[in-house]
């Protein structure tokens, strides 16, 4: 069912772009990622708005007061929080729901990119079965031209070391793309998350931001190091597009890149 509803349509769309654009899989991945970003743009917008409202609430005087007042009465605290949500028309799940809807789309995107590469016999058999014959001439487009710039998109990327020079933990050469993935992931996490609030030292969002900005670049960098470089191209494209989208919505926090940058404390009760 997952294949039928998501992976196969995505794979066919990706291969159609590949076919139309003169058989360049790298460009097809980039354009397909842009296309998916455009389709999910409204969802991203909702997510951003929801996240901003919740972030603002963390610095709100009334919100901080009830946290302090009912710190030992969780039930009462929950009631008071719900009251504030209701009074201000805030949906606490407004930032989560779009993310949940987008998650299968992102997974589908990942899987369609790797499926189209079909680097093994079973992978190729699976790909062949998922292609719509009315849309694509399967015989003509298989095998995919997986070369893009200096990379073979079906293999982990690495610029070969000079002859005689080896690094045991870098079997594929110098991992340029993995480093770019880690840097762009770090930049996106840093730039698109609100800065830590000085008015609420227990701000959970800030704590999460700090953790994400460390772990996500490492995690995605690790994937880029070990998996097909087609995925890494997707990671970089997605990260850059994420930053662009936030910038267009005026939500990029350039101050976050400065070491020790803090958001100025707001006057008590003032809403941003």
């Amino acid at each position: 069912m997952w294949d039928l509803l998501l992976i196969n349509p995505f794979t066919n769309a990706l291969l159609w772009i590949y076919d139309v654009l003169g058989h360049n899989y790298g460009v097809a991945i980039i354009l397909f990622t842009i296309l998916i970003r455009l389709v999910t743009w409204p969802l991203n917008g909702q997510q951003l708005k929801g996240a901003k409202v919740m972030q603002d609430l963390q610095s709100d005087k009334e919100w901080l007061d009830i946290q302090k007042k009912y710190a030992k009465d969780k039930e009462k605290l929950a009631q008071e929080q719900m009251r504030i949500y209701k009074e201000r028309g805030i949906n606490p799940f407004a930032s989560c729901l779009p993310t949940l809807i987008q998650f299968p789309i992102i997974i589908g995107l990942y899987q369609s990119i790797t499926r189209a590469l079909a680097t093994t016999p079973l992978g190729l058999l699976q790909l062949a079965r998922g292609i719509y014959p009315s849309l694509l001439n399967t015989s003509a487009i298989i095998p995919l031209n997986s070369h893009f710039l200096w990379m073979d998109l079906g293999r982990p990327e690495g610029i070969p070391f000079p002859a005689g020079f080896t690094v045991s933990f870098l079997p594929f050469g110098f991992p340029t793309l993995a480093i770019i993935v880690a840097i762009t992931t770090y930049l996106q996490t840093k730039l698109t998350m609100p800065p830590p609030s000085t008015s609420n030292p227990k701000d959970q969002t800030a704590a999460m931001t700090g953790m994400m900005s460390i772990y996500m670049p490492l995690l995605l960098g690790y994937f880029a190091l070990n998996f097909a470089s087609g995925l890494a191209v997707y990671f970089v494209t997605s990260n850059v597009l994420g930053i662009v989208q936030y910038a267009m919505m005026g939500r990029v926090n350039w101050r976050n890149l400065l070491p020790g940058a803090k958001q100025p404390a707001l006057p008590a009760g003032k809403k941003k």
Binding site: I106, I107, Y110, Q111, I113, T114, R115, L117, T119, T120, P121, L122, G123, L124, L125, A128, T138, S139, A140, I142, P143, R155, P156, P171, Q204, A207, M208, M211, M212, Y215, M216, L219, L220, F223, N226, F227, A228, G230, L231
Partner: protein
Amino acid sequence: MKSLKLISLVLLGAILLSACASGAGTVTSWPGLAADSTNAYLADGNSVYAVRLSDGVKVWQYPDKAGTPKFFATPVLTPDGQLLVGSAGTDDALLSLDPATGKEKWVAPFTGAKDKWIASPLVVGDMIYAPNNDGTLYVLKLATGEFQWSLPISHSLWGTPVSNGKLVFVTSLDHFLYAIDPQSHKIAWKVNLGGSVPGSPAVSADGSTLYVGGFTKKVSAISTADGSVRWTAATKDWVWDAPALDGDTVYAADISGNIYSFGAPNGKNAWPDNQPDGPITATPVVLSDGTVVVVTESGLAYAFDRVSGKAWGVGTNIGGKIYTTPVVSGDLILVAPLGADSLLAALNNGGNVVWKFTGK
């Protein structure tokens, strides 16, 4: 407590992303099978197994401990008593094992290829011709595995080469069939078949003709002299692996599950519509009595009468999915399913299961 929650969330995200990305680097194996008169040799998943034919008991397993290599290529028994098998892993080694003990025979495996081994090597004289997924044909010395020369051909090479004694023929996913001259180390000729060819060609007994399938819904007969096409015969879907040659008959099967019996001289199909059950990727196997054995992705093995093309009985259910070409040794037909409760099953000529090997 809060830190614990945050760490849990990050770990959960990591696990989900790992699951998403897993398809990019690690995939299910494609079992490969060979046999001599005493043992079956199965390359499956992360191991190569030697299994005694008399009772289905494991003789040895390579590597001894669970390792990182994966195996897609069919092991090859050589005339001088080696078992060659290509691996997929960090060093993509081509290994020589002792069929009796499972110990490595060469001083060091060949690790000069840039990608995994999906095709099996071909041995001609004292040389090994090994096509790699990196698009290069590597030629090694049979006795030692020492590199001799290589020929960059093109896109991924998945089919085991064949030879007529003069030229070595290599198929490619790039749509071409290549004839390599081992003397000059050059391509003698190449022919565009119109679609990828993941399987091998079959070469006629006199060495004059190749029969090859591929992703163009046809089987072609090609002259080994110059690559000219002698005939093509339409199939209903892609022919994944090599056709089987038996006298003047070329048996082929497609991934929609149709089986064909083409006349070798003219490509005329002698069998009526024949679609037993499920897609077929494996080469049909012809037994000494002329019975044609076919295995399907549905996990069944069928036997067909060579003249009428009619199936005998309803097929033997092996389980799992069968992609690998069966191997015949003595009175046994060996079948290697994928994702079944066993890694290997031995059938007798009546289609009854004699034993199953589970890997233990």
